[in-house]
């Protein structure tokens, strides 16, 4: 009997692994298609000129929540205000900061409180005040002061209520945006129809040289945890999301940077304050809204790196982030279970969510069980070590090859790093990841699932950031 169980388990894992490998190969192919198709038909400088002058250029609101960011808020906001786009505003939402974030903003940007008829299209914690600058230089800046909502989602919703333009970018205040980030994301909106969301690629700012809120030299981090995350981000954007974008099946636009149709976001109910994966939850609800009301939609991933963000620098902060993500993933699937395998929701319901359920949600469990079984079999002497080594090498080679494809794609796109040797660090991460980083992430994901199942009280931890204070002199 036990033999049958082991055989059954072995075949299941084999089929599962082969399915995962094949799906990755398909995603790589689809990602290549998207990259090839993403090139605009117009010469960039001419297109930018047309966009700069045209009365049809859509306006964009950059919404960035801020909570206890006194040390870095001025540099961050200056960075956001430096966007090269003719029609945008920056909406900073001070989410009940306990430090002097608001005071710092007021003094540096010459802000005055203005009476504002705040219309609550999405329910949020109470709005307190709105500030605008008396200086023409900062005329694009709006600061919304509100009571703390406990989550980023509530703050972004307040920003949505106060924003003026038909499109908005959701970003973190400490993210560094490329100067033409809005331009890059608006191109798919104007060159295609029915685009409700655009995801720009993100990269890690850990290790980069920063001056005046701008990346002056992009370098990989030299410490392991951020280095692994760098590779993970590249893989996620350049293979995963690019691949899904080819068949209009993206499950998620990162909360760190994404452009959205404001009207659709509000109609879908805004961001969910009690979600631990509010970005994925938001996109699923936006797509769900479009499908429910038979509206055409398109969600696009562009290969251009639009945003640099500081990733968790150590295991402790990484663990908090990944436990929250794991919890959020399970929560999202639970909340949107009606969409899974539902034909009404097209690719999202029939392809993406079932895929993610099988190869992302359940994967940590399968890996954990597999590890336990491996240990038991090793102890009982039931492993054919030659076969095991061959299988291990095959999987390891595939994983490393996948990472090499990602590195190649990033370099080919003129992405993260100017110097080729910077990619050698990423290659190092690719070689070590299966042994060090991946098991950690699996464990944290499972912990996140467990916390969700037992409904453990969540506490948003403090992300220690170095921010622009490490600017190159």
């Amino acid at each position: 009997m036990s033999e049958y169980i082991i055989d059954f388990y072995g075949y299941t894992i084999f089929i599962y692994s082969m399915g995962m490998i094949v799906s990755y190969v398909i995603l790589i192919w689809l990602a290549s298609l998207t990259i090839l198709r993403s090139k605009s038909s117009s010469v960039e400088s001419y297109a930018k000129k047309v966009i700069e002058k045209s009365p049809y250029t859509p306006g964009v609101s950059i919404i960035a929540p801020a909570y206890n960011e006194e040390r870095t808020i001025v540099g961050n906001v200056n960075s956001l205000l430096a966007q090269k786009y003719p029609k945008f505003e920056v909406v900073i939402v001070n989410d009940g900061s306990k430090d002097s974030t608001l005071e710092t903003l007021i003094s540096h940007f010459n802000l005055v409180e203005v009476p504002f008829d705040y219309v609550e299209q999405i329910k949020t914690q109470p709005f307190k005040r709105l500030f605008k600058s008396t200086s023409k230089k900062f005329s694009k800046l709006i600061v919304v002061d509100k009571e703390n909502g406990g989550t980023k989602a509530d703050a972004v919703n307040a920003g949505l209520n106060a924003a003026s333009y038909p499109y908005f970018i959701n970003t973190d205040v400490d993210c560094i945006l490329a100067r033409d980030a809005i331009y890059q994301c608006i191109i798919p909106v104007i060159e295609r129809s029915n685009v409700i969301a655009v995801s720009g690629a993100m990269a890690m700012s850990n290790g980069c040289k920063i001056k005046n809120g701008e990346i002056i030299e992009s370098l990989p981090p030299h410490s392991l945890i951020p280095l692994f995350q760098t590779l993970e981000y590249m893989r996620s954007f350049l293979i995963g999301k690019m691949g899904w974008s080819a068949i209009n099946s993206m499950p998620n636009v990162s909360g760190g940077y994404g452009l959205f149709d404001r009207q659709v976001a509000i109609a879908a109910g805004g961001y969910s304050p009690d979600s631990f994966a509010e970005d994925m939850d938001m996109l699923i609800r936006m797509v769900g809204y479009c499908c429910d009301f038979s509206k055409k939609y398109r969600v696009v991933q562009i290969p251009a790196t639009c945003c640099w963000t500081e990733g968790p620098p150590n295991i402790k902060i990484l663990s908090r982030q990944r436990i929250r993500w794991g919890r959020g993933l399970l929560q999202t699937f639970h909340r949107h279970k009606r969409i899974i395998f539902n034909r009404k929701y097209r690719q999202l319901g029939l392809v993406t969510l079932p895929y993610l359920m099988l190869f992302e949600l359940i994967a940590p469990l399968i890996e954990f069980i597999g590890t336990v079984v491996l240990i038991v079999l090793a102890i009982t002497g039931a492993i054919n070590w030659n076969t095991a080594i061959v299988i291990f090498l095959a999987i390891y080679t595939f994983c490393t090859s996948l990472s090499i494809v990602v590195i190649f794609n990033d370099y080919a796109l003129g992405g993260s790093y100017q110097k080729f040797k910077s990619y050698l660090w990423i290659l190092l991460a690719a070689l070590l990841e299966p042994f060090i980083y991946h098991p950690m992430v699996v464990f944290f994901s499972m912990k996140g699932y467990w916390n969700y199942l037992i409904n453990k009280k969540a506490v948003w931890g403090k992300m220690t950031r170095k921010g622009f204070s490490t600017e190159t002199k």
Binding site: S32, I35, L36, K39, S41, S42, V43, E44, S45, Y46, K48, K49, V50, I51, K53, S54, P55, Y56, T57, P58, G59, K87, E89, V112, V114, P115, F116, D117, V119, K132, S133, T134, K136, S139, S164, Y165, V189, I190, E191, R192, S193, F408, A412, G414
Partner: protein, 350 residues
Amino acid sequence: MPVHVRQFLYTQTGQKRYQNLYVKYHEPLLSIAKADKILSEEELSAMIHPELVEETSYAYNIKWIELFISLRADTELGEIAVTNLQNTLTLLGLTNFMENRLALGKERDKLRVIQAARVLNIPLANNLMSQLVNSRYLPLRKAARFYYILTNEDDPYLFFEEKETVEDFLVWDEMELHQLFEDCQKLGKHLPSFIPLMRQITDSKKIAFFIRETAYWGSPAEVHYLTEYFHSPNPEFRKAAFEGMGIRKFAESEEAMYAEYYDQPETLRRTILESLLAIKSGKAVPFLREAYQNSASRFTKRTALLCLWLYNAEGQQAFLELKETASPHERILFEHVEKVSGIQDSNYLS
């Protein structure tokens, strides 16, 4: 994957070639484009030194074309600039290259040639263009059709009249066409009226677009015709027509807009108010006041108040009178308008 690798190599080397040309020749070409007279061949040779140009391979010639297109971004198109740039193209032997690529080149090459021809007003062979207007490659087909508008004097809007359109009319198409019409105006090229076209086509997005474009470029009689769309059952057309009056500052339309105001949904009422503000004939204050008093929508009330405040001294007086009698619930609207409009807020109206 081999396609991807080829594309990577092509893109990387192409970018290097373009950068190389940009660094060496962008400034001299910009000087040519900004010259205040038509330059002779000798003067052009002295500025660009064609005998010393080494970058003459096929791969480089395509990048030359892109460089000329990007020049357009840095120059205002006028007859002198266009003539000088056309002569420079001929001097560099690129005119022959463009004709050759149009006949024999890859689709992306043809696209670049047509884009350059459009932005620099270069004539291309009709027999070649007639094949491209029905190309299966969508960007090329669109570029060719837009070019057709620029060059065909008999029926420039032929392709907009097609009953079957496979592709959507995109925001980028609107932006490019608007730029094209602006360039035509600057070059003194008279385009036929859009009105017969608007009567013929059925795509509502295109009709709304041409309504706005008539407001931008049409004669006063054509703009007056747009008031017919005030009664259209299609709200997109009504919105475009009301916006058009503000774009053109067409004061004669004010009475007609007053008459239509109360038949509109709130979003279109706000469009009318914004157009009245843009027109600023000096006569709209009583109407704006009434619009505030009779509106049930806070957004419309806010818009009406802003229009009053920004209209003129009489409007501000009316604003203050209304403020004195405003309920506590509505006071915030007045304070919002007073304070916010005092701080340069160009994106306020929404």
